[in-house]
Amino acid sequence: MRRYAGIAVALLFFAFSISIFIQLIPYDSYEGSAYHYKNPINGSVANESVPSHYIKETRNETGAVNAVTAIVVEYRGFDTLGEVTVLFTAATGVSFLLYQLHKKMQRREANLITKEGSKIVLPFALLTGAYIFIHGHLTPGGGFPGGSVIASGFLLMLLAYPKFFVNEKRLSYIESISGSIFVIIGLLGLLLATSFLQNFIPVGKPGYLFSAGIIPLIYIAIGFKVGSELSSIVQKLKEVEE
């Protein structure tokens, strides 16, 4: 009985996703219904909804071409700080749970294709990850996807070579320094501008690499933090007790 219920739920999901694609449910025309956007800085109320304000004004207000990044880092920056804290707590919990005094690495040899292929793929994975988080305000992506792409490059090396090992102390130093940079940039916003995590650097010309104020700086910090955290989680899982 439960099996058929599960299949029915799966088929409902199928029908739902197909109905989005053939435009029974429109997904690109949402403009919101509450038409009173309140500016958080000067307190003025405009006759438009929050989504339409973000779509129209993001480029002028923050200088970021990618509106998703502008919302995640600038308008909702405090939420992102909470998200980074959740990931930090998860990584700490994994390393507590999997703590082993006498540890060794798994000794199973990988095959030739994995070994040689990982040597070729690893630099491109690192480069792609760095590109994704440095260009977070210009192209799709940002700190979280870029960091996880870097971590998947390390995962490939961990799978291919039984003795491959990243220094845990170095990883935790990178993680704590980049987390501190995030908070320090937020506090500088409190000091030099009006509120926590507010932009205090000139916005610049939208579309250029050096633009959008603090968004690239914060996303570079988040990229390093997420990459080191996820790498340390995967490495902890690889260790076996002696």
Binding site: A10, S17, Q106, S148, L155
Partner: protein
């Protein structure tokens, strides 16, 4: 039109992979089927004009989550009773 065809194929693949991941007794194949399902779902995100979500889903859902499951299966046992 081509998007609708891609959508049909991707949605069908996601459903088949998800049902296989639940039904099979081999936990390693189950983890790999889950990875396939999330890779396919990330292509659907890309078609739905959400490339940010698609990158995250492809790297976390298809690579890192699968690695966590594979290492966990390596520490326990492979076959479900």
């Amino acid at each position: 039109m081509i998007l609708v065809i891609i959508a049909w194929v991707m949605a069908l693949l996601a459903i088949v992979a998800a049902i296989y991941a639940v039904e099979t007794k081999d936990l390693l194949s189950s983890a790999i089927a889950m990875g396939i399902a999330s890779l396919v779902v990330s292509i659907m995100f890309l078609v739905l004009q959400a490339p940010d979500v698609a990158i995250t889903e492809a790297s976390i859902g298809a690579a890192l989550t699968m690695a966590v499951f594979v290492y966990a299966i390596g520490k326990t046992r492979r076959w479900e009773e």
